[in-house]
């Protein structure tokens, strides 16, 4: 068993272990769950330590036959891109446990169920990034919806079951389209090289262009729903408004990255020609997402809805970077996934605290928080700055890489994308102004500032945001080989400088 499999299993075993804890002892359950997530973090750290930065190809590879009739294997392995996303998962999980210590208390079901679902979710998120068998990926891709569904529907706020349902239906619909493509590519492999779902082998298939386009669309729409890309986004705001902060963090911070990750790992690698065909369309969608998400964010009254729409805008950037097909765009997009994970995490966690304290998620109900709860206000402010990609904060590096990478190939798209940074300033600052500045809104005078647990929870996120703004290099070193490989697979190379040397 490779370290990777061990890492996948750790939270899962933890979930089982939770059943050994008496259901009534909520505190112990929380402690055990948190402890387990820290253990997972340690294991993932060990894996990152053993990861060979300069080696190309997959590492920690493991492969066993699973469903031999269809050539389906339990095949896992990670490259740099998968590694950073797994690390994102394992780092965020303990943080959200700590940050949302009490959010499971008033759920539909027990506290234990909440943590079991969370750990199962963590496990499946690790596995989904590790899977190198397309079928395995698909299965986890679909199966992980269930815990999220239950987490939103069982522990959320407001119209939670509706939101959860919408989320599930959208995702499953996308998943079914992907299933159709999955079957298509399997049949093609059966005819050419013998039925397999092995990613590397499938990438060698010769597919006629009409078929390839359809297969590509099946995968792409599934990922576009997940990411979410305009116009497949309408499930997200509801889900974000209803979910608990911890769920939102894992949903938007990590789970949705499966969409963009899938675009790189599957759409581009498996269907390079179709990728070329659809690139213009996708770039237009990405631009629309960037601007649309930003405008909608400006128009939001609900703080979680705002964060959701900012994410739609940010996913637009990620998709733009991916399909720009330059090493800066791809690496930038991958880095963006990580940064957006932490940045949204910070936003959702702090917004969650604000909402919990004020018992309302309407932005207008806040106001003047900087005077009342300075530390919380600062945290929100820094999170906001990371959302608008202020230089010095990690998201700047990725956003700039995406834009510069796009510019070298599609200048007009990059220009449109760049105007997004003005809108980003608007939606962040308007919110900051309404919620943190101005006179203290009536009813907010007695709000409590962050306690020690909350400070400990948010500190690493902010530290990472700032640290990675200045030292993104280790992560870029992990990511760069993956980007190179993706570009090779797609048959692209960086445009050369037009003038000079």
């Amino acid at each position: 068993m490779s370290l990777l499999t061990l890492l996948e299993l750790t939270p899962l075993l933890g979930a089982v272990l939770l059943y050994a804890v008496p259901r009534q002892n909520a505190k112990l359950i929380k402690q055990v769950a948190f402890g387990l997530s820290v253990v997972t973090l340690v294991v993932s750290g060990l894996m990152a330590y053993r990861f060979k930065t300069n080696a190309t190809g997959m590492q920690f590879v493991e492969s066993h036959s699973w469903i031999s009739n269809f050539g389906i294997r339990y095949a896992v392995g990670i490259d740099g891109m998968a590694l950073v996303l797994i690390l994102l998962t394992t780092i965020l999980t303990p943080i959200v446990f700590l940050a949302g210590w009490n959010e499971a208390d008033n759920g539909r079901w027990s506290v234990r169920t909440f943590y079991v679902l969370m750990l199962v979710l963590e496990s499946s998120m690790i596995a989904v990034f590790a899977a190198t068998d397309v079928f395995l990926f698909y299965v986890i891709f679909e199966a992980m919806l269930i815990p999220v569904y239950l987490l939103i529907g069982g522990y959320g706020r407001g119209e939670r079951s509706q939101a959860a349902m919408k989320f599930l239906l959208y995702s499953l619909f996308g998943g079914l389209l992907m299933l159709a493509s999955l079957i298509g590519i399997y049949i093609i492999s059966t005819n050419q090289i013998g039925g397999t779902f092995d990613l590397a082998k499938l990438a060698t298939l010769q597919i006629d262009s009409g078929t390839e386009n359809f297969l590509f669309l099946g995968f792409f729409i599934a990922f576009a729903i997940k990411a979410p890309l305009w116009p497949f986004h309408t499930w997200l705001p509801g889900a974000a408004k209803s979910a608990t902060p911890a769920t939102s963090v894992l949903l938007l911070g990590v789970l949705d990255k499966v969409g963009t990750y899938g675009m790189i790992r599957f759409c581009i690698t498996l269907f390079p020609h179709a990728t070329k065909t659809f690139t213009p369309l996708i770039i237009v969608l990405a631009i629309i997402s960037i601007l649309y998400g930003a405008f909608l964010a400006i128009g939001q009254r609900d703080i979680n809805g705002l964060i959701a729409f900012t994410s739609i805008s940010h996913f637009g950037f990620i998709v733009l970077g991916i399909f720009a097909m330059t090493s800066q765009g791809l690496s930038g997009a991958t880095l963006y996934m990580v940064n957006h994970g932490f940045s949204t995490a910070a936003l959702f966690i702090v917004a969650g605290w604000m909402v919990a304290r004020r018992n309302s998620s309407q932005i207008e109900d806040f106001g003047g928080l900087q005077r009342v709860t300075p530390v919380m206000a600062w945290c929100f402010f820094i999170a906001g700055m990371s959302a608008l990609a202020l230089p010095g904060i990690s998201s700047f590096v990725s956003e700039f890489l995406v834009l510069v990478g796009t510019f070298t190939r599609y200048p007009v798209a990059a220009i449109f994308g760049t105007t997004g940074i003005v809108l980003a300033a608007l939606y962040v600052l308007i919110t900051v102004q309404r919620s943190l500045h101005g006179p203290t809104t009536a009813g907010n005078e007695e709000l409590k500032d962050l306690n020690l647990r909350e400070k400990i929870a948010i500190a690493p996120v902010i530290a990472i945001l700032i640290l990675m703004g200045f030292f993104p290099k280790p992560i870029l070193n992990w990511i760069n080989p993956s980007s190179q490989q993706t570009m090779q697979a797609a048959g692209y190379s960086d445009p050369l400088p037009k003038a000079g040397k």
Binding site: T234, G332, P391, L401, V404, F407, P411, I421, P439, F471
Partner: protein, 629 residues
């Protein structure tokens, strides 16, 4: 090139101090301001040390670099965190740390009653760090970090009293307007990378030689947009007036002496781009000329002393921008004016702060008057700054502004006459409105009511003012003596000794002309405001009212950007629910409707079920029949 290892401390020290003061919180309340001031002073010390070290080197060795670490490296996009201290940046380092330190000292007293003084000093240090990074970065991207960093500091400081909604709005406005400029800077960097494969100053410089004119013009235009945002130039000027919401020391340091001049630095730093593109230069001078007149006109109508000074700042930076657009020799004059302006404008802002300090934060000049008697030191230091800005010899402004007017006239042909004329007209209006400010504030009759007890400010405040006014007096002469600054900067901006262009008029004629219009402006102002001034502003002429409304800049922005933006937002919000989500809901609804209709078949009558089966069988027969035929 020389390699230095201590440049990083210029940035690291204030950054560390800022972070420390913010993180420690209340613990640092007692000593935070002192700590910040000491740090600021020590950066000035390092700056001086570096300056002298640089002077002791010669030729190419004067420029110094420090490589810190590899920041971003993806494909060919490689950006190092590296610092570059050359003749241009050292000017800024000294200005920033020097004026910065004085303003730190001033603020100790000015902010003494504010509960959040520690936070204020943390922000100031943050600003100093970011501004130093801006001028020390060796690449456009490093510069960008500082560029946005100062924007952040500016935002925080403008909104320092953000419990007042108007101040919070002002802060936001400043940030957003700056962001529009940042789009320009981002795009400039992207074009540069696409063209040259590098974003360092050196890389772009070497690439610019062989680049296409169109690309260079595009980069130039984008850099100009960036400069316009940061330096409050037309058409992004509207935020500066509102930015006066911040504490006055901030206005002095950030919104007069240093940050707003970053645009001038950017253009000067990018001289290799502008030198290669006449179109870009033309754009620059147009923006500069418009802004210098725009600011001057607005300045004549403002009754708020800080806003009048802000308008003046805008106008003076217009001069600098104009100068940078005038070719190699203009850069040096722009920087010279920038430095002298740093002294006299800071001095005047601090003076204004001192006045406000004594007048219970009253800013309306119509409620001042005759303050010269109760605040002699303030009046004198302000007066020296005043004389400097209007360009009376031998004060600093005379040297720097005259050079710009002269160079503008020399730009050649009708362009030269237009630009020179604009600059000259600007000088006249400047003389008028600055005289107005001075007269309204310090002379004439007392118009303040009895509740105000104007008094001279404490020494911690007036000492910096005095020091700055010394600068306002002497800096012009010192910098221009033997073309000291021009020579000093020559390696950076490629300026030669001989002033380029065709000499339209002898320098002495230009000086005389300038002095003439200044006297004209001063006289007009004294005649208009020397005697009695109504406490309530008269309605004024159409032009006055228009100038009070900042020549309609906000109205224009409101109509052109805000309203359409809000309309788009509203439309999209409703579209999102009504249309995009609506399609999804419509699909669901349709399916539900079909479902209900379908179940009508299920009516419970066995005979109709049999009928359905029979019809089904017939349909099958018919189909296969048709297919087979």
């Amino acid at each position: 090139m020389t390699t230095r290892s201590d440049l990083v401390f210029l940035i690291a020290l204030p950054l560390f101090s800022s972070a420390l003061l913010l993180l420690l919180g209340k613990i640092a309340n007692k000593w935070g301001h002192l700590f910040a001031t000491v740090i600021s002073a020590s950066t000035f010390g390092i700056g001086l040390y570096e300056f002298f070290a640089m002077r002791s080197r010669s030729g190419d060795a004067r420029a110094a670099t420090q490589h810190l670490f590899e920041w971003i490296s993806v494909g060919t996009f490689k950006v190092d965190a590296s610092l570059l201290l050359d003749q241009l940046s050292i000017c800024f380092v000294l200005l920033i740390t020097g004026v910065g330190t004085l303003i730190h000292i001033y603020s100790i007293a000015y902010m003494s009653h504010d509960l959040d003084r520690r936070r204020f000093f943390a922000y100031l240090n943050l600003f100093v760090a970011a501004m130093l990074l801006l001028v020390l970065g060796d690449s456009y991207l490093n510069l960008y970090v500082g560029w946005e960093g100062v924007g952040l500091a500016s935002y925080l400081l403008i909104g320092f009293w953000n419990q007042k909604p108007a101040y919070a709005v002002a802060a936001k406005k400043a940030f957003v307007a700056n962001r529009v400029g940042d789009v320009g800077l981002s795009l400039a960097i992207m074009i540069a990378f696409t063209q040259f494969g590098s974003v360092t100053f050196a890389g772009v410089k070497s690439g610019a030689a062989s680049a296409s004119p169109a690309a260079l013009t595009a980069i130039g235009a984008m850099l100009l947009l960036a400069a316009a945002g940061k330096s409050a130039q037309f058409p992004l000027q509207s935020w500066l007036g509102d930015a006066m919401a911040g504490p006055t020391p901030v206005s002095a340091l950030i919104h007069a002496a240093t940050m707003v001049t970053a645009g001038v630095y950017l253009i000067t730093r990018s001289n290799f781009i502008f030198d290669a593109s006449a179109t870009a230069r033309l754009l620059v001078v147009i923006v500069g000329a418009i802004t210098l007149l725009f600011g001057a006109i607005v300045g004549t109508a403002k009754d708020d002393i800080k806003k009048a000074l802000a308008a003046s700042t805008m106008s003076q930076i217009g001069y600098m921008i104009l100068a940078t657009g005038l070719g190699p020799v203009g850069y040096a004059f722009a920087i010279m004016h920038l430095l002298t302006h740093g002294f006299f404008k800071a001095s005047m802002f601090l003076g204004a702060g001192s006045v406000m300090h004594g007048m219970n934060d009253e800013v309306n000049m119509r409620r001042y008057g005759a303050l010269g008697r109760v605040m002699p030191i303030t009046a004198i230091t302000f007066g020296l700054g005043y004389l400097a800005i209007i360009g009376v010899p031998p004060f600093a402004g005379f040297y720097s502004k005259d050079k710009i007017i002269e160079t503008a006239f020399n730009a050649g042909g009708s362009k030269g006459i237009l630009l020179g004329g604009a600059a000259l007209l600007g000088a006249a209006i400047t003389a008028f409105y600055m005289t107005r400010v001075f007269v309204l504030t310090f002379m004439g009759s007392k118009r303040w009511d009895d509740q105000a007890h104007p008094h001279e400010s404490p020494s911690l405040m007036w000492i910096p003012m005095v020091l700055l006014s010394v600068g306002s007096v002497a800096s012009g002469f010192l910098l221009s003596k033997g073309s000291a600054l021009v020579h000093w900067l020559a390696p950076v901006v490629n300026a030669s000794d001989s002033e380029g262009g065709v000499e339209l008029m002898k320098p002495i004629v230009v000086s005389a002309l300038a002095l003439g219009v200044v006297v004209l402006g001063v006289m007009t102002a004294i005649i208009k405001y020397g005697r009695s001034v109504p406490v309530e502003a008269p309605e004024g002429s159409l032009l006055t009212r228009f100038a009070r409304r900042d020549l309609g800049q906000d109205d224009l922005n409101h109509r052109l950007l805000v309203l359409p933006g809000q309309a788009i937002t509203r439309t999209l919000v409703s579209t999102d629910y009504g249309f995009i989500d609506g399609i999804v809901r419509a699909v669901g609804w349709t399916l539900g409707y079909i479902s209900t209709s379908l179940k009508k078949i299920q009516n419970g009558y066995v005979r109709s079920y049999a009928l359905l089966m029979t019809l089904g069988a017939i349909a099958l027969l018919a189909t296969i029949w048709l297919v087979t035929l």
